[in-house]
């Protein structure tokens, strides 16, 4: 499949994080820590992220980068010892008040109303996320009961529609989770996530546990459903290559910080942050010239003892003294389009595939854009 930015989904030009009034989910300056006794681990450190209605935003990073923590924390689903220590999460769906709802201020009763109806989640492991003792129809049905108040035949009709939506035979309503195949279970999770028409669906590594063929099917299903139902997707994965195919915009996290954000096209063609470059260089393209895989040397950092300044310094080949005292705010990337932000002001975007050119000063973009296919 040709890696083409999915901005064509709703036809709009991928913009800069949409102006505050338009984003359906706006995370601003969010910080989350884990407290163990007296020690605090910063799992998410002053992160901004926004989703426009119907948009697909990918969130990429290694394990421990904080991407799941960010998403679950924004919904306030994290358990102690996690604590949200700052920021705001504003939801502006069409069903809530115009000025939006500040999720961090809600009590449990209001949150319960928001949950699933407005923001739903597809968890990574369907085998673990489905209740093993309930039939599919009961697990799908209870969320219908909690949020909509349908009559019995309406409910049954809706359940059947949901399974049709994801391509599962209707008789599976009576099955238990262990009676379904892995792919079917994940589809049930997706159907469940869409059961009450949310405007935002968070997908936390939804295909990681599946084999490649099934992965493709599920992804195609998600894209198609999104076209039909127009919900926004926050797609969390460690697999950047996947995001290049289905996301409108991509955000990259490292050690709890946001290090780069931009459209899929910008990230693919002009990756700015050294970490993003490393990620892109880590997987081969099916087409194009053969090259040696680079990967990223070193290991993910220990969040309990982060060095000051940029956390990527130990593994970054361009690292220099100024990096250790840098302010980790993301800034617009010179020479790229609007909406492309990076936390590294020293490295300018070059095409990642084929020509590595470390620069410490702003240099003009050199190589002509290589063919993407």
């Amino acid at each position: 499949m040709t890696p083409a930015p999915a901005g064509a989904v709703n036809g709009s030009q991928p913009e800069q994080p949409p102006a505050g009034s338009q984003a359906v989910l706006e995370i601003r300056d969010l910080s989350i820590v884990y407290r163990a006794g007296d020690a605090e681990v910063k799992a998410v450190d002053h992160v901004d992220l926004a989703l426009a209605p119907g948009e697909t935003v990918g969130l990429a990073g290694e394990s421990g980068s904080g991407k799941s923590t960010l998403a679950l924390g924004a919904c306030r689903l994290l358990r102690p010892p996690a604590v949200i220590t700052g920021g705001s999460v504003i939801y502006r769906g069409s069903r809530v008040a115009k000025e939006g709802v500040e999720i961090l201020d809600q009590g449990s009763r209001e949150l319960r109303k928001l949950r699933w109806r407005e923001i739903s989640i597809v968890f990574q492991s369907a085998m673990n996320a489905l209740n093993p003792v309930l039939r599919v129809r009961d697990q799908l049905g209870d969320v219908l009961d909690a949020h909509l108040h349908l009559k019995r035949d309406e409910k049954r009709a809706r359940l059947e529609t949901l399974l049709d939506l994801v391509g599962i035979p209707r008789d599976r309503l009576r099955s238990y989770p262990h009676e379904l195949s892995g792919g079917m279970r994940q589809r049930v999770m997706i159907a469940m996530a869409l059961a009450v028409d949310p405007e935002v669906v968070i997908m936390d590594e939804p295909t990681t546990a599946l084999d490649v063929v099934v992965q493709r099917e599920i992804l195609a299903q998600i894209v198609e459903l999104q076209k039909r139902l127009h919900f926004a997707v926050l797609f969390i994965t460690h697999d950047l290559s996947l995001l290049l195919e289905i996301a409108d915009r991509i955000a990259v996290m490292y050690a709890g910080q946001l290090v780069e954000v931009g459209s899929a096209e910008q990230i693919h063609n002009r990756p700015a942050h050294p970490y993003t470059r490393g990620l892109l260089a880590s997987f081969p393209s099916v087409h194009g010239t053969r090259r040696t895989l680079a990967g990223i040397p070193g290991t993910p950092p220990d969040l309990r003892s982060l060095p000051p300044g940029c956390p990527f310094v130990p593994r970054c080949r361009y690292a220099a003294e100024p990096c250790r005292s840098i302010d980790m705010r993301v800034r617009p990337v010179a020479g790229s389009g609007a909406g492309h932000l990076s936390a590294c002001p020293f490295v300018v975007p070059e095409p990642a595939i084929g020509t590595p050119h470390p620069q410490m000063s702003t240099a003009a973009k050199t190589a002509p854009e290589e063919s993407r296919s």
């Binding site: 319960r112 739903s120 489905l130």
Partner: protein
Amino acid sequence: MQFIIRRLGFYAVAAWAAVTVNFFIPRVLPGTPVEAMLAQHPQLTAAAVRALDIEFGVGRQGSLVHQYGAYLSQLFSGNLGVSTSAYPATVTSVLGTTIPWTLMLVGLATIVSFVLGTLLGILAGWRRGGRFDQLLPAFTFLQATPYFFLALVAIQLFSNDWHLFPGYGGYTLGDHIGFNGAFISSALRHGILPAATIIVTSMAGWMLQMRNVMITTIGEDYVLAAEAKGLSTRRVMFTYAARNAILPNIAGFALAIGFVVAGALVMEIVFSYPGVGYTLYNAVTQDDFPVMQGIFLAISGAVLLACLLADVIYVIADPRTRTRAAY
């Protein structure tokens, strides 16, 4: 279904084991009970002596295999021998009058303590760090106290000092046994203290086990998913967490039932409650070996039945067992 059939097969083997152990006890251990019995009760009929021979192998007539066969056939014809202390009553009749008392007391008390303990365990596991956790040391103490000690204290307080409940027997002596009001009411009154003691001591154990499994279950992804779905607290707690947490407890019932039986036995002895335990105790003190071994068989059978029941309930509760071939 396959699961149940496998379990039935197992219980058949266990029953056979119990019967065989029962066969070997008098033949393996020193002493010749039958001679002692004969000496004490010279009025035993020839038929009774023959039955005792078969059961206890006195005289060692025939090979061991031959004796075993005779023993089994005697057993299957319902002949458990004759009680030497309650002569000429048969062991079967002795059992017949005592088992109902035990069933009532132990059966009801076990069910109540399981239900109460499980409910409390659900709450305790849900509200970690709350009031229940502060009561944990008290419950631990209860679980560790010798069962009968609590019974003795209870008798002392409730019966002797405060005269609230009778501390002895199953019913007021002189009452006519049957379905009449006076008997039923006195039976109930006599049953309260023993039942309460059983409940209090075993409830602690069920509660602690349920609490621990509940805490582990709450950490599962599907509970988090239930929260994310915006379901009511009650539904998350019961249908998602508790419903799964209870499974290991049902499975562990077979392990626990040994202790239930032990506790009930001792309780009956302390209260002189006319059930199986008290009868066993009397049989021991009077060297009534036929009754002793008959009671052992009866209790084994009851335990196996209870375990089978627990297995059936488990199959109903856990849908995963219905498709898997092996458990």
